[in-house]
Symmetry: none
Subunit: 155 residues, 2 copies
Amino acid sequence: MREMTSLADSIEEYLKKLLNLSASGFIDIKRKELSSKFSCVPSQVNYVLETRFTLEKGYLVESKRGGKGYVRLRKIKVPPESLLSFILRDIKKGPVDDVKAKGFIQMLYEEKYISLRESRIMEAVISSLHIIEDSSLQHRLNGLLLRNMLFILLK
Amino acid sequence: MREMTSLADSIEEYLKKLLNLSASGFIDIKRKELSSKFSCVPSQVNYVLETRFTLEKGYLVESKRGGKGYVRLRKIKVPPESLLSFILRDIKKGPVDDVKAKGFIQMLYEEKYISLRESRIMEAVISSLHIIEDSSLQHRLNGLLLRNMLFILLK
DNA sequence: TTGTTTGACTATCTTTGACCTTTGTTAAAT
DNA sequence: ATTTAACAAAGGTCAAAGATAGTCAAACAA
């Protein structure tokens, strides 16, 4: 009889069960403890988080290092057909130039995801990145910043 | 239920509570007594003061050594019109590391210049800049971005 | 190939302790 | 009454150790 479930799958399942049981909508775990529980290296936990608990799949991961550190996992609601999902998918596909980034921001405003002031702040950010010489870095930052700013809207 | 609060966090919370209860707007503590209360070394108190009660976060710490020594903690009250110019002036002076940048953002929120969401967006921006290798560029961007985001508030 | 697992190295945050500086107190010497 | 010196009573600094989590690329498996 062969093993059908990977370690990653087991950890995923375990975390999802914990999440469902949680009244608060989030859970705090210790990376080290979790990896002990599954007798694997700690970075295995990161692998699971990166592949199974992504924003696109509707999860938010926050963490803190050092003494009393933790990893906090929460389930959020991102309707798959929503503008947010669309933008997140698009960002993941590749570099984001500033025309595209600003287009997204405009759409977010028009669809009432963000206020006028918020849209102006975000646009100011994208514009400011112009001083970066390395345009590949600039485009990566466009995507990353947009993504991390959207992340906030979900909390 | 696992304990997630570090000693530093507990001390921070305790001091903030005392400050809120204080009519005078400041509190005087004895470093030694406080550290006894929390069963830790005195320098732990300095750590908390240095990381949580910085000028950028809107706090002022004064102290005196020797007999009758004390540590005085106060929340600074910035006249509403001058907070932005205070920050802008500081930014102009030199590079802005992310601890400082986030301190300013926190103060802007506490003083009600920006909403919670706006503060989180701004913090996300600063955090995202971590991927920049060149730390001099990163610090320049911290300042520039903060400045350009603040300009939006003036409109 | 694609997805999984591992481990070496890195980054960040916290806690502790040894040593330093400043101020206050007291009592002896002047 | 004044000066001085020792000692006590604070608080400050800094660097090391401890506690977590993150990253990345190589090895491995399906």
